[in-house]
Symmetry: C2
Subunit: 622 residues, 2 copies
């Protein structure tokens, strides 16, 4: 029977952000238009000096795709415009296949009972011509700057360079401490993007079968990124919900989205998600492979897994989590753990190894996997199947043994010019987080680290977005390139839309706190704009500059709903008599008027100020 | 007209915690009963081996006071039982005054219009006999171990020692890194408590006029504590609400509560709060002083401020925030800041200094303040009136100039045997947090640091419990003794009950993450118990061990409401086929049965395991 609820234009969030407009910056090497969000600010007015002074707009990195651009018409039934199609065609190294290559994909297509839930406008898959490698790493190593690379350079800069020339005061920021990353180099150039990809220090996930994406990059020397997991489980949730969850996640700032569906119709659900996703999509192919053998891990085979990789690669999955580091000899190392193996993929492979007493087929067939990856430009996300699931198990022998193997596999992947990132833990107390980062950099030759949290304590189920947000901010600062979000439902249930938003906002905070601490170029600009607006009581600007304008406004209006309050020079926290900001304004105005250095200001200043106050009958607050 | 809503027994939260009971541990030196919460756990059952094994109960630090003990009858109109009264009397160094000493206090008492909202059972105030110093620091320096000190030793230990003898496996924890704190000394003894107080490294806030408190300690070598701010503002909220907010805040884990009321009836509101508070209460006396001069800072005088200190000391306030470090010469240092002065107290004193072009009377009269403090045992919380209000202003000249002055004042306070802690920032990017901690330890001779956050970014109003929870966890790890919570309403409005709970839970997480990272004795025990319960699918135990059992249960039941799901060996996240935990159980069981070291287990193990799986037709999941 027809059980699936399908997406419709009405079920997709498309409201633009308040006080913001979508702007597009043209490329110079390529014919590209790079989207960003421009937040316009109101002018600064001094009620005493009768001066008004413009505040330049603030451009922010925008992951939300065309959904927040009211000028773009989107039909979720047809999917997003195929931005990258001409770029891919111009490279002339791919072919369009007559039909799907995977047996499973063909069988689903042949099943007419699925017609009703099938994405109608699926295209024929594209694949590298025989003997070609279509990975961005391969191009980079040839010295080619692809449109994707230039797109990223412009996107990462967010017009900093241009704005900086106009007004560099707003760009003042603390130097930061970046633990040897290369983030003090100023603005990002297309060449830098290319070189980081060639070096393996950055990953540009961009399957040739996912032309809908707005290219983004994952690397220690770029802005810290975040991933949001969605996907239904045996405990149902519909295709409609999952597609909206994806759109909702990118609206609030998810840079990539992983579809971890384990329920029925995984294949069709994925097609709907990818065709409507402007961000890279990741999956854990072993989940679907396990469904194909009815949950019996021991019945998994290399052939079946291989068919699953091809199936998903031809749909357009941009990166695969593959737990090839869970080796037979490591399984017993988990025997004395408090929480054993907590990674689904890891436990599936451990079970297979035990059942067959054989080395993992992911490990033994790794080079064959590389061949598939480079034919579609799917990136590796080498899974940490033995990550600790509790504070007690942090940084143990099993975890680090696997990490060393992931380093060995990274070198093999790079030999094939396959883009690679490394997944990390998990549950780690604060003082043991840096050891993870340092070991990953060492073992994996600076391949991007992609961590889940880490959670810094086990005792707060219901708040694990926070227990993990603490660890995420720290490991992001230490050098992690992408932070996989954790929602408040972690350990308890499947996240709903509210949980997805809470998780994404928390991780945007962690990622930004990390960029600030690293001293990433321009990172502090938005903070400076917010603080200036705060000091000048420009409430609307404060809301619009916030990561979550809706909540900021709602919280403010809860106590002071009147429109007048939006221009009031105080708030409900202190009330007019207790506003600490105004007095500071007076001190500053004084020093500026006099054009004095603060030192001289002390004596001269204080005396005049005292007199002035007398004159005004001490009425400072209006 | 009668506008105030007063508390009533019905408006106070008294529900006990699920699966928990209040236990009282007797003292050995003194006749004291120290309350803690004991969480009982269900036994571990192995469905395969048919074994059940008891899990010892977990004792946790309990800030909620008698309110969560159903055997205690509480009448909010009469206030809490006066636990410390006999201890104070036995010291025989205090006198009960015939009447209130402060002019203001007397005038309020004489005002019959206030009768309806006055706390009826207020007692006559107590004060040190002439020439006596009744501070805990003074006793400690005499070598005396007071009942308060023994109470704290027992409370901090949470029966760790006793439990440890029974079962030390649960006590295994990571060593931690504590940056030179003295937290590796094992269990806390009364002597250690005394010596830390004498040394000035710990503060035991305990006004002789607040006998209702269950003594607690604030110091780098003890468990990290958290404070919750409550209090109404000009924008009204009632006495009823504020008292319930206090009870609500300690229920979820606030170790102390600050009453920052700035509205009308501050004096009476405070009486209601203190008489019903089992935790130390802090205030910022300058707020009330400013109300007394109708918000005109320049009209403040030392005499009026002194009267306010005495008024509040005789009501029982346990610690005063005093911004004596905001000196005239430092004010101009804030002139070029992005957000100037953001501390209310700081801006009030800056305004006074400007208006009079004189040095702050808090600074010039500091020794007189000390005389008042030691006559009631009020502790100093030396305020950071020049803390940065934005990332841009972090660690600047104004902030650090004030901190150096606070160090100078600490030595003066210690000369008078007055307990002292130091308040800290504010808004600080992650990489600049440690500099604050290190400078505070150096300048202030290891006096306890008490920080607000710090917030690690400015761009997330509505989520500042999280932006600051990150910084709080880190600075707690570095050595901060107490973390002042920040609620989601920070920068936007006054917190309601939900905000108070969100702020408190977030800060409990930060404080505990810090204890784990420091390797505080026994800190990991609750995490271990939680993780064991998680691994064994003891859902009820997971809920009951959680910082917030209600939310954990609610989130779980949202997807799996059935009672059966509470014993299911899977959850809605992965469903039965994807449960990563069971396989680990099998691996571990095997190794244990064989009594093998993991190394040998590899080969022997794998082969037998393989065979066993065949036998069971690969049916591992039931």
């Amino acid at each position: 029977m027809k059980t699936e609820k399908l997406p419709s234009p009405e079920t997709i969030s498309r409201t633009p952000f308040p006080g913001s407009k979508k702007v597009y910056v043209k490329g110079q090497l390529h014919d590209i238009n790079v989207p960003m969000r421009e937040i316009s600010l109101s002018p600064t007015t001094d009620r005493f000096k009768n001066i008004t002074e413009e505040n330049p707009p603030v451009t922010v990195y925008d992951t939300s795709g065309p959904y927040t651009d009211p000028t773009v018409s989107i039909n979720v039934l047809k999917g997003l415009p195929k931005l990258r199609e001409p770029w891919i065609e111009q490279r002339n190294d791919t072919q369009t296949l007559a039909s799907i290559s995977s047996d499973y994909g063909r069988s689903r297509l042949a099943n007419s009972e699925l017609n009703y839930l099938r994405f109608e406008y699926a295209k024929k898959p594209r694949k590298a011509k025989p003997g070609y490698n279509v990975s961005q790493m391969h191009y980079a190593k040839q010295g080619i700057i692809t449109p994707e690379m230039e797109f990223i350079a412009i996107r990462e800069n967010q017009q900093l360079e241009e704005r900086y020339q106009k007004d560099n005061t707003l760009w003042q920021q603390h130097k930061g401490h970046n633990f040897g990353a290369h983030t003090h180099g100023g603005f990002i150039s297309p060449t830098f993007v290319r070189d980081e990809i060639a070096r393996g220090r950055a990953v540009l996930p961009s399957n040739i079968n996912h032309p809908e994406i707005e290219p983004m990059i994952i690397g220690r020397n770029f802005l810290v990124k975040i991933n949001a997991n969605i996907g239904n489980s045996a405990v149902t949730s519909s295709i409609e919900e999952e597609v909206e969850k994806m759109v909702w996640a990118i609206r609030w700032g998810a840079d990539t989205v992983m579809d971890l569906s384990t329920g029925k119709n995984i294949h069709e659900t994925r097609e709907w998600i990818i065709r409507n996703a402007p961000v890279p999509i990741g999956t854990v192919p072993i989940y679907q492979a396990l469904e194909k053998v009815n949950g019996k891990a021991e019945e998994l085979t290399w052939e079946l897994f291989k068919d699953t990789l091809i199936e998903q690669a031809e749909q357009g999955v941009d990166y695969f989590t593959i737990h090839a580091g869970v080796r037979l000899p490591y399984v017993p190392l988990t025997a004395k753990r408090t929480t054993g193996i907590v990674s689904r993929g890891g436990s599936i492979m451990a079970k297979w190894c035990l059942a067959h007493h054989q080395e993992s087929f992911l490990y033994t067939h790794f080079e064959e996997i590389c061949e598939i990856m480079k034919a579609y430009d799917v990136s590796f996300s080498l899974g940490d199947g033995l990550r600790p699931g509790s504070i007690a198990d942090a940084n143990d022998a099993a975890q680090f043994a696997e990490l060393e193997t992931l380093g060995e596999l990274t070198k093999i992947a790079w030999k094939h010019d396959v883009q690679t990132m490394i997944e990390g833990p998990g549950h780690i107390p604060m003082h043991m987080i840096k050891e993870n980062m340092d070991k990953q950099l060492k073992e994996c030759g600076e391949a991007p680290f992609y961590t889940l949290g880490p959670l810094t304590t086990d005792i707060a189920p219901g708040y694990d977005h926070i227990t993990s947000g603490i660890g995420a901010a720290m490991i992001g600062w230490f050098g992690t390139a992408m932070l996989c979000y954790v929602t408040p439902k972690e350990h308890l249930g499947l996240p709903n839309k509210k949980d997805v938003k809470d998780g994404v906002i928390t991780y945007r905070i962690a990622a930004h706190a990390a960029d600030l601490a690293k001293g990433h170029p321009g990172a502090q600009h938005r903070d400076n704009a917010m603080s200036k607006a705060r000091f000048e009581f420009r409430w609307e600007d404060q809301f619009n500059l916030a990561l979550d304008p809706d909540t900021a406004r709602e919280f403010h209006d809860e106590t002071l709903p009147a429109e007048g309050a939006k221009t009031a020079h105080f708030c409900s926290m202190c009330g007019p008599n207790f506003c600490s900001m105004k007095i500071s304004q007076d001190v500053r105005d004084f020093a500026e008027e006099q054009g004095l250095e603060t030192k001289e200001a002390v004596n001269k200043g204080m005396r005049e100020k005292a007199a002035e106050f007398q004159k005004n009958n001490f009425e400072i607050y209006s």
